[in-house]
Every structure is written in structure tokens, then in C-alpha cells.
Amino acid sequence: MSERTFKYVGTRPIRHDGVDKVTGRANYGADLSLPDMLHGVLVRSPYAHARIVAIDTTAAEALPGVKAVITGKDIPETRAKLPLGEGAIDLHDVSDNMIARRKVLYEGHTVAAVAATTLDIARQAASLINVTYERLEPVLSIDRAIAPDASILHEDMRTKGVPNASKPSNIAMRMEGKRGDVDRGFAEADVVIEREVRTPTVHQGYIEPHACVARFGEDGRAIVWCTTQGPFAVRDQCAAILGMDAAHVKVIPSEIGGGFGGKIVVYLEPLALALARNAQRPVKMVMNRDEVFRATGPTSATKIRVKLGAKRDGTFVAASASLYYEAGAYRGSPAGAGMMCALAPYRIPNFFLEAFDVVVNKPKVAAYRAPGSPMVSFAVESVVDEIARELKLDPIDVRIRNAAVEGDLAPYGPAYGPIGLKTMLEQAREHPHWKAPLGPNQGRGVACGFWFNAGMNSSATVTLNMDGSAAVVTGNPDIGGTRAAQALMVAEELSIPVERVRPGVGDTDSSGMTDLTGGSRVCYATGMAVIGAAQDVREQLRARAAKTWNVNVDAVRWDGGFAIPPEHTANAQPLGVAELAAKMAHTGGPIVGRASLYAPMAGPGFGVHICDLEVDPETGQSRVVRYTAFQDVGKAVHPSYVEGQMQGGVAQGIGWALNEEYIYNADGVMENPGFLDYRMPVASDLPMIETVIVEVANPLHPYGVRGVGEVPIVPPLGAVANAMRDVTGIRFTELPLSPPRVLAAITERNRETVGV
């Protein structure tokens, strides 16, 4: 990768969407209203596990103002699978999760939908729908789900990955990975540490709830306006679930107030379409926060056992792990990804890993920022910390000794290309944070983390205006500042000021097919399409210059925004973009550039985090007092938004480690479905999170870009837990490290110390 100097890439212009966002002018999923619009409301199960015996909707249908009522039997079941690139989505489960047919599988599971002229009437009608349930025993933990006498959620579920699995099970899948001889490796170790950890159900916590408006015509053509990470994914899911031709569905993505993986699978849109079709009027549906918690995908609670063996000098020789991940009501936890990430930062010659996808009576899990990786990183980084303590070695030195480098085999098979993990660990060791003195009741922890970063399908068009400005359109909703990055790429390729580039998000009609925004792929893969489309424009400008000078296009150079004529061309001066654009009607017509591609996975991303924690021994409350996040980003196109991704991931990881958890009662009802009691960090909870951007170029990308968005949520769980160990002397193996849990452990330790 050459050391290219950039003019625009790497600078920090104000994002094009910034003013609208901070003034409240930007239009999100709930901001659209249409004439004649109805309001849709869902009826949800109060029970975590039950058979639906009967649903009586007559009183609801008779209420004045009610225009449509549907239940599960109004939406035909489907066996379709959608290749969303990131693993085929089983639409049967998506549809059954969206509205139950025979069984309700979690408290909050939708059983009916109503559309009425006002929200109040819709809610009243919902309360008039009479559902008869036959209650079943809920399964609310991994231990209960895998017990031989467990209540079974799906009678037809057999454990995939186990040959000849013939009995119904709550284990949807078993996976394994191994290398070398793990028994011999442990036998050769000088120290072996084994721990079992548990992490709770946590939610992505996007500030904007799910919302949509659906419009359905007599001709069978429909429009959906919604907040989503993937308009094409919404279109294809709606079409398949409702048995429609996808060509008859247009999806317009609104501005999105956070997704983190939770706005990929549909919950509302097909129901809104079905109501709109029946009522022949547009239908708007907006979830409240309670519904978002109880009935949209959080991420898996886990039970993970990790065993690590090392030589006295700290070299890792063997590792084993067993990962149990809750999938919620339907199969599909990120247990497999967790298994692949578990040992990814380290070179370990002998290992045995197994992972289990387990269904329980909780909402079906959805992807959450590096799905599967943070939980297992918490487990492994805790054990690495213990190994360092046992051997009296510096925790960063132990990680440097074992850090994977280019050419090492990743635990999931292929060799790593150029990666920045070791560089970051060395920088962390020299960073002032690592050497700063600690105050009373303060401790310090370090951890590293890994995520893959996706590739997949992307399209982009770049159009030139006669005044020399440009517009770029992709199909990727902007959740991380990617429009600003795309404008910088176009500015760079065409040498026009970034303020004169208008980046936009198209809908499913105006953009070429694009896979969803997520997987840390937009700046990398869609960015490559944007660069390609801008270069296409540049090639066309060269051809227009050649036409102007009446020379062969191969003789025309392009340099710094100008077409340069071949030497000795009569009456020829270099022509800039603006001049060529002004004349485009005379030289061949409008100039539109395009590119589309399927990108391989972006090349792995690593992060190293240092956390200082202060713990009040009298209350168990903790405060992060200093935090530094290192990340190898390949190339930071807009450094402010790369830093923003790092800080945001850290904030979510800290919340996961210190406070967040779903609290269920014995009946499987969530007791804290609101931000007051489901405690996410707010700005006043955290110090300024310092970021160190490391750039080891990704050879797959013309600028060296790596995926950035997901890695930063991975190390915080381990960093915070290791800091907690440092300050309290207690190794916590269960998250969150909330004040009651910490205080109880401190009290117990004090009692033991005193000998009471």
C-alpha cells in the first residue's frame, strides 16, 4: 500500500446532515404523516410460553373508527429463506416472531394487530381483543433449556451439527472448532486457569424506536417508509412474508436514530402493509420503548467456560472453551461467531471450542454490534488477566507475547493479512494512561478484542451538475457518518471541494441493490463503489476533454482535478471539472458515473482498551475515571466519525459491563423495560473517551479502509472487569457489575478477611 497523500480524505468537514440533526429538523421513522392515515397498534401476549386456543376480535371490529384487524391466520406461513448475505434468514421464524400462529413464545409476542382512525381508538380496540391461552411452563435460562426434562419450545427442533439428532431439543445447533492436541497442550502448561462466566440479556438501546408508514394501492403496489438499516432487506422480507412481488414494493428509508444490528429484521412493516391493504388507507405504526425492550431482539445472554494454559514465560499453549448462547424464542444466536472470535487475538497452537445455540422463552435475539464477540471476549480477557497475575507478568506484555501477527492462522482457518494488534499493544504499553498513577479505590484493566467486518453487495452512482458540483447516491442508511465519508471520497477522486458534493441515501427504486448498513461494511465496501463511480465520472471527463481537443482519449492525462492535453496540441489548455461540466450538454450529454461490486470480508479489526475504574466500597457504585481506546482502522476517511464510532462502542460496552441487564420474574415477564431501570450510560456517566487511531492499511481497499464500527464494543467488558479485579481484588464472573452485586461481594470479602 503506497503512502498516498490525500487532500480531502482524513480531514474533518462538518457532516452534511449535521445541522438538520442537531436542530431536530431531520425526518425519522415516526415523522411521516399521510392524508387519510390510520394508526396501527399491536396486541401482545402477557405470557412467556402458551398455546393460543382462540382469538375473538368481534368486539374490536365493531368499535367505530376501527378499519382493520388481523391475526396470525391472516398472514400465510412461509418457508422462504432470504439470502441476506450475512447468513440466510429463515422467514418462517421472522414471520412467526412478527405475529404468533399457534404458540406465543415470549411475553410481548404479538398475537393481533389493529388499525383505527386515532391512536386512542386503536388502543381501545386492542384491549377488546379477547385471547384464550393455555399456559405452558416457560424456559428462562440456559440451564433449564438444556435440562433433560425441559419444556420444549419447538417440537420439530433437532440439534443441527449433531449427526443423527432425533429427539426434540431446545438446542438448535452445536458447532465446534479445534486445532492441534489440546490435552497434550494442557499437560505441557505450567499454569492452567479455568473460569465460567455469565453475561445477561442486553438491548442495543437505539434511541429511536421502530416506526413505519405503509401505503397499499388497489393495484397491489405498496410503499413503506421506515427506519431501517436495510431498505432492500425490508422490501424483500415484506414481499416474501406477504407473498407479494418485490417489484411492487418500494421502501424509503428515513433518517435512522441508531440501529446497531437491531433494525435489520422486520417487526412492523409487513403488519402495517397487511393492515393498509385491508383498510385501503395508509397505516402508521410506532413502537413505544416498552415494546422495543420486550419484543424486539436484544442480544444473547450467555454462559461461557474458558480454560487457558500457559508456560511460565507467559506463552499460551492450549485453550478450550464451551459457549452457550441464548437465541431467544427462535434459533439464531451468534454462538458460532462468538466461537470464531474467542481466541482470535492470540496465537494458540492447541485448542478445542464448542458453541451451542439455545432457545428460551425470551424475545428472539437480533444482531448487536459485533454479535457474539463481546461476551466471549469478557470471558477470555478475564482468564488472560488471571494468567498474567498468576505468573506475575505485566498484562500487556503477556498479550504482546501471544499476539497474532500477519501470517498466523486465525482460529477459524485462514492466515491473517496485515493487522495492527501488536502495534497497538506496544503503543498502549508506552501510552501515558498505562503509566499514570492511580488514586484511592481505583484500579486499571486492559483488554483486546476482535471483529471480522463484512463485505457483500454495494452500488453507487455519482452525478455531475453543470456547475461542477456532484451528488452521490447509495442505498445505505447513514448510521455512522458514512455520507460525510462518501462525500470526502468523491471530493478526493474528482478534486472538487467536499462542500460541493451532496451525499444522499436512495430508496429501493433509486439506488442499485445494496446490502444493509451494518457489519462495519459501508465505508469499506460501499466506499469502494463510491470511489469506483467517481472514477467512472473522471474517465468520462477525460473523454469529454479529448473530444473538446479532438485528440485520442488515451493521450489525455488527469492531474489534480484537471484534464491535461497531450503536448503540442493546438489551442489546448488544461480543463477543470467545472469547465468540462458546464459544457457537458455539447460534448455528449449528462455525466453519470456508476459502480457496483461484491466485496470480500473487509479484513479483521482489532482494538485494545485501557480502563480506570473507581469503586465506592460503601455502595458498590463504580465510575469510569479514564478510558483510552486504540483501534486499527486501516485509513480514517473522516477521523471525527471514526473516533465517534470508537467512543460509542466503548459507551455501550461499559453499560453492558456495569449496569445493563434484562430482569425477569419467575413468569418470564421483563420487570425493567424502560431507560430508568434498564440503565444505559448517559453523557454525565462517562469521562471523555480518549481515542488512538492506528492505521495499518487494508490491502483490499484503495485507501486502506477497514471496517470500524463494531470492534470498539468488544474490549470494554474485559477491560472494565479487569479494572474491577484490580481495585477490589475480586474476580467477578457475572455481569453486570452493578452496585448491588459489587457491594455484596465486597461485603462478603470483608467478612472473610475479618474472619467473621
Binding site: G85, G161, P414, S520, M601
Partner: protein, 80 residues
């Protein structure tokens, strides 16, 4: 002839065979050859991504496979 490495979870379906030499020039053909050789493996191949010389393709399609390529089958993963 590409060298294909199977993760241990899949070797249960190949009678323990973890490394296979396959004659194929495209990813799709390579998976078909594997399914022909190990029929029990066929149903598991719906959920795999393919790494060819270090590049992972979630949907391998017709990606070219060279005569000396190193191919790893890895589980498909989802991002968030």
C-alpha cells in the same frame, strides 16, 4: 487442485477427513464436488462461507479458485 480445510465441526460428516484436495476452478463447483464426495456434508454447506487464499466470501458464488489455492470453510456470521 485446491486444498480445502474443513473445520472440526464439519469433519463429523466426512468420517474425520479434515483436508481434501478438490479439482474445481470456481467456489460453487468446489462445494458441489465436496457434497458429491461426502453426501452427509451436503446439508451443512448451506451455512458456510468460503475463504479463498485468505479472503472470506459470505456468498462464494463463482469466485475463482486457483490451482494452488488454500480454501477454508468457515461459518457464515452476521454483523450488527
Amino acid at each position: 487442485m485446491a486444498r480445502v480445510h474443513l473445520p472440526s465441526g464439519l469433519t463429523q460428516f466426512t468420517g474425520g477427513v479434515a483436508d481434501v484436495v478438490v479439482d474445481a476452478s470456481r467456489a460453487r463447483d468446489l462445494l458441489d464436488r465436496l457434497a458429491e464426495r461426502f453426501p452427509a456434508l451436503a446439508s451443512q454447506l448451506d451455512d458456510v462461507a468460503v475463504a479463498i487464499d485468505g479472503q472470506i466470501y459470505q456468498d462464494p458464488g463463482y469466485q475463482p479458485v486457483g490451482p494452488a489455492s488454500e480454501v477454508h470453510l468457515v461459518p457464515r456470521i452476521a454483523g450488527g
